[in-house]
Symmetry: C2
């Protein structure tokens, strides 16, 4: 779908953009050093634990796709990664998934204690919005709204609530119910990452509509592949093979949505291809 | 400090303003009905549990003090109350204060379970920022920044972290250490309530500086009186009598800061007097 030269250069671009994201995150988590050391240590431990930076890269890629410099979307990219990280910290808590490990290391509450993990999560969420309010992206309020909505009860938190209920009930859920959970818990923030990046780049309405399709498709594909890997959720009702096949179809649709953007969508294209390979 | 006629009318005004705040909160928590019912039930249970609405009333009072209609600050008022409520929900959790009751009723996690309480708190915090981004107050980004900073590791969360450490350590803390906790945990958001209300009303810089002094003094007085009541924190090192005396001095300073505002500061004056009576 991309031409040969983009194929050669894009992985390097991704690496470079990932470095920019990490630098922005480090800045957000260190300056000004206002809070007690303990909570900042916990926040940094969780944010710098080997995440792939998929969501921030989507924001930067979308910003580039609409014709702006990727770095203009850095505040939005940073915000979605902070929110993603807080959601993992709270999701791992004993009262939720009760996970002892995250990315091969002790989960935040195993390392710092449960109270500190709750507060570190709260602090990451608060920092995301506070940092967003301190920048000069066009339409910052629209970006806060998009990210806020995707993170609230209609999105991320709503998905966690339904997931928690499903876990407690241990009863069979329909594919539609699991799809609803996936859309809220995973696809909403992935979609908002794309949208907010496009908004930071000064997107037109038709561009936004296309990128919205890309974001929705990639977001659902992401959860389908995750479920297929773990044999849970959607993959549990559909079967892992069918879940993977649907993810592949969604990724093709996502790539099609990018066609009018040409080479400027190279990063978004590469991210979809990376997802297809996982 | 206020004249006779303001004295007679202000309690009615407070009641009216409290009704406006409750209506705004009800709107924020019901429409659009996007999330799973369970989490919205938990959020409403915590927000409508007999709180005094001190922080939102400060926002409305400050807006009025700078010459604007109080209702212009309703989005800011609503945001600070949602954040205050989330902080109580998370503070009551077993890993924190482990409180079974709040305002004479079962605490959120006792009523809805720990997982739901964590998520309800997260949702209240997210909703605060999301709602703020949806309004037409002047300087909305400045308001988000002020509230975000007061709620983050330099304010509210930082105070909780230090409080948690003090609780775990059970060692003696100096008055300075307790004052730092009080400033972060309580005074920061009370100060931000005043400031954000003034910003929503289109404050001038000199007005903001005076109201900032009022907010800081009232915020610290609030925690001193709370500690004096419970025989904890600052009152534990200073003695309850000295804590009360310092609170009274701070409230006098707060009232003095209001002098140039004349009758327009009637609500802020009444709130300080209410605090002095508690």
């Amino acid at each position: 779908m991309t031409n040969r030269s983009t194929h050669r250069t894009t992985p390097h671009r991704l690496k470079l953009l990932r470095t920019l994201v990490d630098r922005e995150l480090r800045r957000a988590l260190s300056s000004p050093p206002l809070g007690p050391r303990a909570v900042h240590d916990a926040m940094r431990y969780c944010v710098f634990s080997g995440g792939k930076r998929f969501r921030p890269l989507l924001a930067l890629g979308a910003c580039e796709a609409v014709g702006a410099a990727a770095r203009r979307a850095l505040p939005a990219a940073c915000a979605v990664e902070l929110i993603h990280t807080y959601s993992l910290v709270h999701d791992d808590l004993p009262a939720m998934d009760d996970a002892d490990e995250r990315r091969g290391k002790p989960s935040c509450h195993r390392k710092f204690g449960e109270g500190q993990a709750i507060l570190a999560g709260d602090a990451l969420l608060t920092l995301a919005f506070e940092r967003l309010s301190r920048n000069s992206m066009p339409n910052t309020l629209g970006i806060i709204r998009a990210i806020g909505q995707a993170s609230g009860t209609s999105g991320l938190i709503g998905g966690q609530v339904l997931d928690l209920q499903a876990m407690r009930a241990r009863g069979a859920r329909s594919a539609a119910a699991w799809r609803d959970i996936a859309r809220r818990k995973t696809a909403a923030l992935i979609h908002a990452s794309v949208i907010s990046g496009a908004m930071a780049g000064g997107t037109s309405r038709p561009q936004l509509a296309r990128l919205s399709r890309y974001g929705r498709a990639v977001g659902l594909a992401f959860q389908l592949l995750d479920d297929a890997h773990d044999g849970e959720g959607l993959a549990d009702v559909m079967g892992p093979g069918a879940a993977r096949a649907q993810a592949r179809r969604l990724i093709r649709q996502a790539q099609q949505a990018l066609e009018p953007f040409g080479r400027r969508a190279a990063v978004l294209r590469e991210l979809a291809e990376w997802l297809a390979r996982t």
